[in-house]
């Protein structure tokens, strides 16, 4: 243990985490690329993602890096432009389920008793469905819109956060520092919100990273079977679905490039987990 103190600040702690784990550094670099594409992609791509052209089903070339599709649209432009939509869906869904899961989990974990029983059984019911199937049902029922994809994804992810938070809160409910906070005159609400919940953040961050990946997969999977996002909107799942029709005749680029970019995004989110956890974990500070 060195003589360094916390006064180094958050930025240097993030730097330290990055240096500790090269995988984290790579993952954050990949995330930076994705965010860049989401923010600036639509302005920078070489072709209009919706404009059809005469040159249909062209293999990759200098003009069309990822080739063109059956309507002559530029696959590269469509892939990049779709980043924004898929990121919005996953970030939106994860944010919603994070908040909902945190509140439900805290209530169930701290007070126990009947709130716990009601919340836990409710979550069990959601978890009783194969989650993708439930998402299908919700989107089919609520209607085919992007918002509904976000809500459906949020609903199926909420139980995971709630369970993590419930467990983390529950084991700390009688911890010494919680008792001490009580002696210091904190009300129950303050104790849960300010003393216990922040300690559940590290495992939640791992969940966030996994769920961002699932959310993207989920949205793409839904549009693959014709739910949620509708053509001609550029979206990875739709593009793979459209490309699937051409793969057995050898036009591989229609499906492969959007599929790979989709995988790249999910892979990035999945790799982020450990790094995000270390950043919010004070015990990683030296």
């Amino acid at each position: 243990m060195t003589g360094t103190t916390q006064s180094h600040g958050f930025a240097s702690h993030v730097g330290h985490v990055m240096r500790q784990n090269p995988v984290t550094m790579i993952a954050f670099g990949m995330l930076g690329l994705l965010v860049f594409c989401a923010v600036f992609g639509p302005a920078l791509v070489p072709h209009d993602p919706l404009a059809s052209g005469a040159r249909i089903l062209q293999p990759p070339s200098g003009e069309h890096w990822f080739g063109t599709d059956h309507l002559g649209r530029d696959v590269f432009s469509r892939v990049i432009v779709a980043t924004r939509l898929d990121m919005v869906i996953s970030v939106g869904a994860v944010a919603l389920s994070f908040v909902a899961g945190a509140i439900l989990g805290c209530a169930a974990g701290y007070w126990g008793g009947w709130p716990d029983a009601v919340i836990s059984r409710g979550l069990d019911m959601i978890m009783a469905f194969p989650l993708f199937v439930l998402a299908m049902g919700i989107v089919a029922a609520l209607g085919n819109t992007v918002e509904n994809v976000i809500y459906a994804t949020a609903v199926i992810n909420t139980p995971f956060y709630a369970r993590v938070v419930r467990a983390e809160v529950n084991i700390r409910r009688e911890a010494g520092f919680v008792q001490a906070a009580r002696l210091a005159g904190n009300s129950d609400l303050r104790i849960v919100a300010l003393h216990i919940f922040p300690n559940a953040l590290p495992p939640m961050m791992v969940q966030v990273s996994l769920n961002m990946g699932w959310a993207v997969l989920n949205a793409a999977g839904l549009s693959f079977i014709g739910l949620g996002v509708r053509p001609p909107t550029p979206e990875w799942g739709i593009m793979v679905a459209e490309g699937a029709n051409y793969i057995i005749s050898g036009e591989w680029w229609l499906a492969v490039f959007p599929g790979l970019w989709l995988m790249f995004a999910v892979f990035t989110f999945n790799l982020l987990g450990d790094g995000l956890r270390d950043i919010v974990d004070p015990r990683q500070r030296r």
């Binding site: 009783a128 199937v133 299908m136």
Partner: protein, 339 residues
């Protein structure tokens, strides 16, 4: 003690099943499109639509509709599918074995790869093998199943031409085995028809691999974490100090303890797999309940969709029940200090 535990666990499943039925009911009532309009036909006027609505009981208040719905379910009347014209329950029963055969084979394959991978990673934490393992399984779970499937078809069917055409459970060259279990592998083996067995197995390979790749990660991660924890436990040190050989310590002591949390994870993985199943069946034109549901969704065939969602949920509840009971069998601590 054990019997009471089993009873309690069965009782616990009841509210979940009720909840599942309620959610399914609410979802289907919320589905867009008026079924009465649909059933009345294209040429119907307002009055005949109203008549159909009354026949279907759709004008009654919701609670009454719900009771009627539950009554129908219990009698085995899950409605008729619009697209096939058959009762939904018999459609599902016919197609379910196809889905189960695919999912179970995929999970077996996945466990057979993921558990040894997890053990290997845990016995050498921080080594290049550990990192490689992690990156590989993470890449696997990052691959959307529908994309993996298409990629495999492109490589093994189009480019290399070693896989059969991705259309269903059996090439038309073979005759379907006489249905006993509905699992082609088992039925053909029972009939001694090894040609058909081989044909069915060949069809299974690509979709099963597709799903296995997707489910590797959670199993391997959980195995690794559980193994690491088990290996750092005090009882492992006792076993080492007592001179037990490494193989016995890793497999006999650590792995047996580590498998308990892995079994729990299998429930969640199964949920994963059933969801992925829908997409995989679509890609491989697999005649299971997943592709049935996708077709029904496209055709707004609401009895079929509702039947599918309900069947999936009931299947999953049953499976979790089995896993929990299995857990109670292999872990002696359950039943005394049950949490």
């Amino acid at each position: 003690m054990r019997a009471r535990l089993v009873g309690a666990r069965l009782l616990q499943a009841i509210p979940v099943v009720i909840g599942v039925v309620v959610i399914t009911f609410v979802l289907t009532r919320a589905l867009p499109g008026d079924p009465a309009v649909y059933f009345a036909g294209d040429a119907a006027d307002e009055a005949s639509i109203q008549q159909v609505r009354e026949q279907l009981g759709l004008d009654a208040p919701l609670p009454q509709q719900f009771i009627r719905y539950v009554g129908d379910l219990l009698r085995g009347d899950w409605g008729n599918s619009l697209s096939t014209g058959q009762p939904v329950l018999s459609d599902l029963a016919r197609r379910l074995p196809a889905s189960l055969e695919l999912t179970l084979i995929a999970l077996l394959l996945s466990c057979a790869i993921a558990i040894p991978l997890g053990v290997m990673a845990a016995t050498r934490p921080g080594s290049w093998r550990d990192h490689l393992c992690r990156v590989l399984v993470t890449a696997g779970v990052s691959l959307p199943t529908f994309f993996t499937g298409i990629l495999l078809i492109y490589v093994f069917y189009y480019l290399l031409d070693i896989a059969p055409s991705p259309l269903g459970r059996l090439d038309f060259l073979y005759i379907e085995p006489a249905p006993v279990t509905g699992f082609y592998l088992i039925d053909s083996a029972l009939a001694g028809d090894w040609d058909t067995f081989g044909g069915a197995a060949r069809q299974l390979v690509l979709p099963a691999i597709t799903m296995a790749i997707f489910t590797l990660a959670p199993i391997a991660r959980m195995t690794r974490a559980a193994m690491l924890q088990a290996l750092s436990s005090d009882f492992i040190r006792t076993a080492r100090a007592a001179g037990l050989p490494r193989g016995r310590i890793v497999y006999g002591y650590a792995l047996r303890n580590a498998l308990l949390p892995v079994v729990t994870t299998l429930g969640m993985v199964f949920s994963f797999a059933l969801g992925a199943n829908v997409l995989v069946e679509k890609v491989f034109a697999w005649p299971g309940i997943g592709s049935y549901a996708v077709d029904a969704l496209v055709a707004s065939d609401y009895a079929a969709v509702q039947g599918f969602v309900l069947a999936m949920a009931l299947l999953f509840v049953t499976l979790n029940l089995i896993i929990d009971l299995l857990y109670a069998v292999i872990d002696p601590r359950i039943g005394f200090d049950a949490t």
